[in-house]
Symmetry: D2
Subunit: 346 residues, 4 copies
């Protein structure tokens, strides 16, 4: 019997509607490099959710690629990007941002989040410096929604961050690799329109949210739109058969899959969370999205590992560890039932 995989949210292909769409269009021929009609249609669907803000939508292939391309396109070489110390760009992208020449100013996060006051302090510290040429200028704020720990910013937190960005002339870049899971969480009071309103640029994750691969970058701030296709190409991020990306996002958005499917996944994750709680097993961090970080003993890890694959995170103490269970767009209700049953036996 195969074990069930809960270790991450990118271990299966795509939503069946996407496979069907790819199959259906496979013999059609298209214009290359994202200038085809599917990319246009995909972008148009996305634009319906931006509250009317004028945006450029670009389809790229993966998250790391989006992150460093957006950041390097926006900043001068002496400008830095502020993020939580647990931010993906700071810890899991092999120094990709630094490789483009920019310093990351990592602030201590709480549950994976940073707050407006912290950002203000960093920006103010630069503003009052009398050796500005000797230090990097914080010019962009990078946050993940949801965060790498599955937590989400509230609308008021986002609004406060936006205010600080306005006050100090900072760009706000929201990494939405798991955006759908955040928007679909019952604890979320933020909409995609809000995301578009508060950010200068954000991206809508596809890879972890129902697509085979692909991320949709949404640029709201005109200053950041300049030459972006050149940055995409130069960084090897322009898919020759761009329509493959357009079709996927069109499928996810035109049929509402993106919202429904990820909402279902977050809901399933909360069933898992509840099952752990019922069993008296604590969360490492209180997440209300598709990623659940729980604290297990080694015995529990061994027992649940017999039928289930989780991701090991870190040691917390003697015989006590943090592990991750993820649901995804592809998670089946009955598989969650099976997991819950096994959790109850721990």
């Amino acid at each position: 019997m195969n074990k069930l995989r809960w270790n991450n949210d990118y271990n299966q292909g795509a939503h069946p509607a996407i496979i069907k769409a790819l199959e259906k269009t496979n013999n059609e021929s298209y214009c290359g490099y994202g200038l085809d009609e599917w990319c246009k249609k995909g972008a148009d669907e996305i634009k319906k959710h931006l509250g009317g803000r004028d945006a450029d939508v670009h389809f790229m292939i993966g998250g790391t690629q989006v992150n460093f391309t957006v950041i390097t396109s926006a900043l001068r070489s002496y400008q830095s990007v502020i993020c939580a110390d647990s931010g993906h760009i700071n810890v899991h992208e092999t120094g990709a941002v630094e490789n483009t020449g920019h310093k990351i100013e990592a602030l201590p996060g709480t549950d994976g989040k940073i707050q407006a006051a912290q950002i203000k302090e960093a920006a103010e510290s630069f503003r009052v410096s009398d050796v500005k040429e000797h230090i990097t200028e914080p010019k962009m704020v990078y946050i993940s929604f949801p965060t790498e720990y599955g937590t989400i910013y509230s609308l008021s937190e986002l609004n406060e961050i936006r205010s600080v960005c306005d006050e100090y002339g900072l760009y706000l870049f929201i990494d939405g690799a798991r955006l759908g899971y955040g928007l679909g969480s019952p604890e979320c009071d933020v909409t995609m329109e809000d995301i578009a309103r508060v950010s200068d640029v954000f991206y809508i994750g596809g890879t972890k949210c129902g697509a085979l691969f692909g991320e949709a970058v949404v640029i709201l701030n005109d200053a950041l739109k300049i030459g972006f296709r050149s940055y995409i190409k130069q960084n090897g991020a322009m898919l020759a058969k761009g329509w493959l990306l357009g079709i996927q996002f069109y499928t996810l958005f035109s049929e509402g899959i993106y919202f429904d499917c990820m909402k279902a996944a977050s809901t399933e994750a909360l069933r898992i969370k509840a099952a752990f709680e019922e069993r008296g097993i604590k969360s490492y961090i209180e997440s209300y999205t598709n990623q659940q970080f729980v604290i297990l003993t080694e015995k529990q890890m061994e027992q649940i590992g017999e039928k289930h694959i989780y991701e090991y995170e870190m040691k917390l103490g003697d015989g006590i560890h943090c592990v991750r269970f993820c649901t995804s767009f592809a998670t089946k209700h009955e598989d969650v039932d099976a997991l819950i049953e096994d959790i109850a036996k721990l």
Copy 2:
């Protein structure tokens, strides 16, 4: 009626066997980042064609990405790469190689090719320089097989280039974005084993050769293997769902599609070439692979353009232009019949 597209070789999806394979595995779950069993199987199939040389095979997403990642991983910052002035890295990658910090030393090509003697001259010029610290050191040779003009190096040309590389300690990197079309040309006396024997690193194009997307990088030289997965990740070129690449290359190679299909396409291209010749229309460059560059008058362009899409290349003189017609893995014999019929009427 839709026009037939001959403008490039990446305007349709994938070989049907690939779509079928993706569909079949869509509900399976896999380990991420190219560490899955499909990538292993795909690599194993490729290794059968390397004449027994010990190689690392990595799957990446697109050609530009491969080119700059390979080059930057191989060179110190003061080292440069030699290529033909028409080389893809020199003219169609938005300065991606320079963006990684390296100078391209472009030599005047003949029919898209450079010769061993030219490379020797450039390398010798550095060797005898007494201001070595003031100039860049040529350390790698980049050639395309087939070239951007569809031409192919003969085995003896490749052997001579290899000799110069050995003499001067240069790496030889072969861009095989269209490798299958070259190997499948009736004029080709080179095998994939030869490619593997003469090069330090090369890549097998998938995007233009039957895959939805993807390129297989084959590293032969041990010095170039160090840390390559880190370079892939850092440059945003590591696909989260890496098995999508493995499956595609496994499908193309395990069933012989890669060789048969591209050979058929080159054969179809030669029928088009013959049709133009019969009609008295000259080639801009004599190509025996899937890309045909022909010289048309404006009237001919207009006439053929009624039913066919070609790629405009450049003006050659008063009312005389160079245009490109490509076949691909997806080209149908009957479509070529139709094109030939229309060529005859020019």
Copy 3:
């Protein structure tokens, strides 16, 4: 007896007035990093020669450093710089510009110069391209005044280049490593005011023109002034004891040394040129500044080399070579007499 050195123009210390000024101020204490009163005074002296244009003047240490710092500060990563194939940035700076991420678009020079029509062609080629994202955008023109071959642009040539730059939105950057020798040539119809009028940024060479070291960067275009001190610091080009640069330029400009001394050197160079001509020895390039490139036989090279050091340039044919003789701010009239005497004996 020591041989006389004519091989370059940076083989002696500084004008005696500079040594005296450094000695006199050695026990004074100053504010660091170029924010002292001498840098202000040096800049003020330079500003007297800019025809009233509003400029930022920064003192840096050497030419390569100036070149790549100016270029990288001005360009986005997908933008390139146009220059003559013999341009210093293209051939003698170890790929420093590429190391900052930018492609150099080298155009074939004539006597070290490029013309407005060539620049227009390159810029137009980008303007009409329909694959702009796949190629680099030429955004800056780099010329040297005088050129690396000692030749100088006429005022009308500069005006024409400026026109093209205006038409295509290109920045004009003038490398004035040897500016004084150019302005001081009897063949020159250009003034420093002209240089300031036609360029967006230029620099006044000190290292080769009477200073121990140092170059004064003059930024005229407001867009290029942004954050320049940060770029200087980040690139390791900000001298801690910045007043050392300010004092040197103040000394050179406040006492007219910069103009008088370099004019004298160019005048002496023309005596050498005349001596070679009288002896029937041809110039490789007709230069009217301090660098003279002449064509010698091997026997002549040996004979003149007994008492004089020249710089070997390249082989021109069987037993025929191009060599360089330079004068400098430090050249003595009687040493030129001695050289001329020996030339006559060839």
Copy 4:
């Protein structure tokens, strides 16, 4: 009356012997780019202090330039450098290291120092990681001797750090911008031979230690010697009139000035430290070199500021601040007397 400057250690020219040497050689002519006899002589003097280790000595212009050039020459793009959070490269070089593409892994320092155990933990964390391609590989340790806070590592601390570096294959790079002040401290049990023994590369500061400008880079590890002159040139750090650097270091080392003069400065600094202590004013950090960080009230700051210039560091609490007083090679005993007198009156 001019105030006395104590704010930094680079506010005056050079040791008089250097000015004299520059004056004396000003009319001599030399070979360029550091290939002259003075650079050889300067390097030879330095080599006498390396305990017989085989070293390459290169003269560069300033500290930031040395730091990023050494680091980028030593590391692959996915490798990072470990340092104290207060390390100069992390806080006062405008992101120069990141600009070359490398992440800095800043560890929390104690009194400006990091300990072997911290380095071991960071290196071990990478060693045991199972996602090595997703994170940067720590490959170099950067420490300053003395630190930016004037503190010094003991010999046993250095030996322990070296052991960890050996265990994990890390390079040790010692920033000796103020090396002389450290070696000359009465609390120091480390010699220059020790520095050369434990490090793979270090530099001997000149700018802050008696020279007009200049730093001597000493490369001990053969792997780091490769192509270093090319890195120097490419980064704009190769002085055309290189002998100016050679003369300065020859003068400082051949006459023992480097050791005597900096020792005197550290001794004077301890007199200042004692004066503050006597007056009941605490140090922010206990430094036994030329930089003294003391805690003053605003009233004290104002009073001492009437006749003396210090550097403001940071606010520590209500009305309580940290300020810096530095001595240097140029500090006069009687000026210290005057300062001490004024401290007593606080």
